[in-house]
């Protein structure tokens, strides 16, 4: 009797949850479906949900008529580049704060977080002018630098919370055994630190891929990553829903899939380790 009620309840929860989840996901699904329609079918009233003539012409056209590949490459270089350079700076910093904390560590960490609270518009003008003078405006190098700096606090925090969990006894035990600092790092700590470093890298690639303040303000046509490429669809001519959908699908697919794989790390990284 009670089991039957439990079962009914479970089905009810399932139904409601799936309904809401599909509603939330719907814009993405709709974009995906529209990308396979002709332009005429894309704006048809009533909307055509599944029964239309599926076509891949939008993808071939986006591929042929725009520089999609170049913008995609820009996105990869900027997102991965800024994350890797960021790691080079953040790993030593997080390491030293996790393993040799001082009185000031807490203050330094909070100060770093506070730099992230600085609104980007507060420094937009000088960065723009400095970059113009240094020839960094509209270059991928410039964006790698800016995104690395703007995500550095998150990287340090995230790595710090991971490193903090490496038991220090292990470190001390290794020292007692007479391991040198180099060996200590290579054989004992690296394997323990690697998952945290990988998660940090992953989360920052996602953040940098979608970053749309600096990427829109500091680039023009040729070096723009996908965020800027998609923004160029905001002043279109003629029918373009299907092509917009195809371009959008191509732009978000890789990162949405990465996102699915990194839900746990995302929670931890973006809450600075406060929620796990």
């Amino acid at each position: 009797m009670a089991r039957a009620a439990d079962d009914r309840h479970k089905w009810l929860v399932t139904l409601v949850a799936w309904g809401l989840a599909l509603a939330i996901f719907f814009p993405i699904l709709w974009t995906l479906l529209t990308s396979f329609k002709t332009e005429a079918a894309a704006v048809a009233i009533p909307p055509q949900f599944l029964f239309f003539d599926w076509t891949t012409e939008n993808y071939t056209e986006v591929w042929a008529r725009t520089d999609y590949l170049r913008h995609f490459t820009n996105s990869v270089i900027i997102a991965v580049g800024s994350s890797l350079v960021g790691l080079l700076v953040a790993i030593p910093a997080a390491w030293s704060m996790a393993f040799s904390p001082t009185r000031r560590t807490r203050g330094v960490l909070l100060w770093m977080l506070s730099t992230k609270m600085l609104p980007a518009v507060g420094v937009l003008v000088p960065i723009y002018l400095l970059f113009k003078r240094a020839g960094l405006l509209d270059t991928r190098t410039g964006l790698v630098i800016v995104l690395m700096l703007s995500n550095l606090p998150i990287m340090v925090w995230m790595l710090f919370t991971y490193f903090k969990e490496i038991p220090r006894d292990i470190l001390e035990a290794a020292r007692m055994d007479g391991a040198t600092a180099g060996r200590e790092l290579l054989h004992i700590l690296t394997p323990m630190a690697l998952p945290g470093i990988a998660s940090t890298l992953l989360l920052n690639v996602i953040l940098a891929w979608n970053e749309s303040f600096w990427t829109l303000n500091l680039t023009a046509a040729s070096t723009g990553p996908l965020t800027a490429f998609i923004a160029s669809f905001s002043a279109p001519e003629g029918l373009f829903y299907a092509k917009l959908s195809a371009a959008s699908t191509l732009a978000i697919a890789p990162i949405v899939v990465l996102g699915w794989l990194s839900q746990k790390q995302l929670v931890r990284g973006l809450t600075f380790g406060a929620v796990k």
């Binding site: 949850a17 506070s114 518009v121 606090p153 929620v275």
Partner: protein
């Protein structure tokens, strides 16, 4: 001996990050301050006359400033309300046993990974367009007038677009927090005859207080700099109805080439962010470290 050596190494390892962040903060901020006190037009490169606070007076007395300030906070509060309340509800739902929980979770979190320019353009064209949008079709089906969302209610439309992207974030954080709630505690309360409402108020909500604070902090950081969504949908219009502080500074600087007044606006934005930051960091700061 060993410990001083360690201390020096530790400082050496920490210094590049600190130095870079200092540079990233201090140099541009100092420049913004300097510009804000001078007559600096991008199109007239010579003769940066000292103006004192004139740029500030100009920026702060511009009716667009007050409007943009109101819009900034309206967007912030609107999105926070939708995402936090919706997130609590969704998280509690997803925490229950169901079939296909993994897939449901994947569907719900997906919008968070959609870049702002894509989500804004998809909503603008395929949903909110008064002729071809799905909402217009729905209105027609129900015999109502089709609304030109971004022209008639630009701020509400932007709130919905942005909230769609952040609802998954709040849900994911709160769900993770709920899953760490002790089920024994919940069951004990149930045995004691506490009803669902009591359990929610006395057990679930206190447990969620900290994650909710974190969600508010993180979202505030990102929402104060909301920009791309406005740029590709309304350009701040009609009039200044959807212009926020970030967009106003951008348009002063890069559309009207008035570096001086844009910088004054930048300083104002920093001041507001700092007031909020102090408030929020105090709220969250002591919880961040165990």
């Amino acid at each position: 001996m060993a410990s001083t050596h360690n201390g020096a190494t530790a400082r050496l390892m920490l210094s590049p990050a600190v130095a870079l962040l200092l540079l990233w903060m201090a140099v541009p901020l100092a420049m913004t301050l300097w510009y804000s006190l001078h007559d600096y037009q991008l199109l007239m490169p010579r003769g940066h006359e000292f103006l004192g606070l004139e740029n500030y007076v100009y920026f702060l007395t511009d009716p667009a400033f007050f409007e943009s300030l109101v819009n900034t906070f309206a967007l912030l509060l609107g999105v926070l309300a939708i995402t936090v309340l919706g997130g609590i509800g969704l998280a509690m739902l997803l925490d229950r046993p169901m079939y296909g929980q993994g897939i449901v979770r994947v569907l719900v979190v997906s919008p968070f990974f959609v870049m702002p320019t894509v989500s804004a353009l998809v909503w603008k064209n395929m949903f909110m367009n008064p002729v071809n949008g799905l909402f217009a079709w729905l209105a027609q089906v129900f015999g109502m007038r089709a609304i030109d969302w971004l022209a008639e209610v630009p701020l509400l439309s932007l709130t919905l677009i942005v909230a769609w992207g952040w609802l998954p974030f709040a849900t994911l954080i709160l769900l993770t927090a709920l899953q760490s709630l002790d089920t024994e505690q919940k069951e004990a309360a149930e045995m004691d005859g506490a009803n669902a409402f009591d359990r929610f108020v006395h057990i679930t909500l206190p447990h969620l207080a900290r994650p909710i604070a974190v969600v508010i902090l993180i979202q505030t950081i990102f929402l104060l700099s909301l920009f791309a969504e406005i740029l590709v949908t309304t350009n701040g219009g009609p009039g200044n109805q959807s212009t926020n502080l970030a967009y106003l500074v951008y348009s002063q600087a890069l559309l009207r080439f008035d570096v001086g007044s844009a910088s004054a606006g930048g300083v104002v934005a920093v001041v507001f962010a700092n007031i909020l930051a102090i408030f929020l960091m105090r709220l969250v700061g002591k919880n961040l470290e165990r």
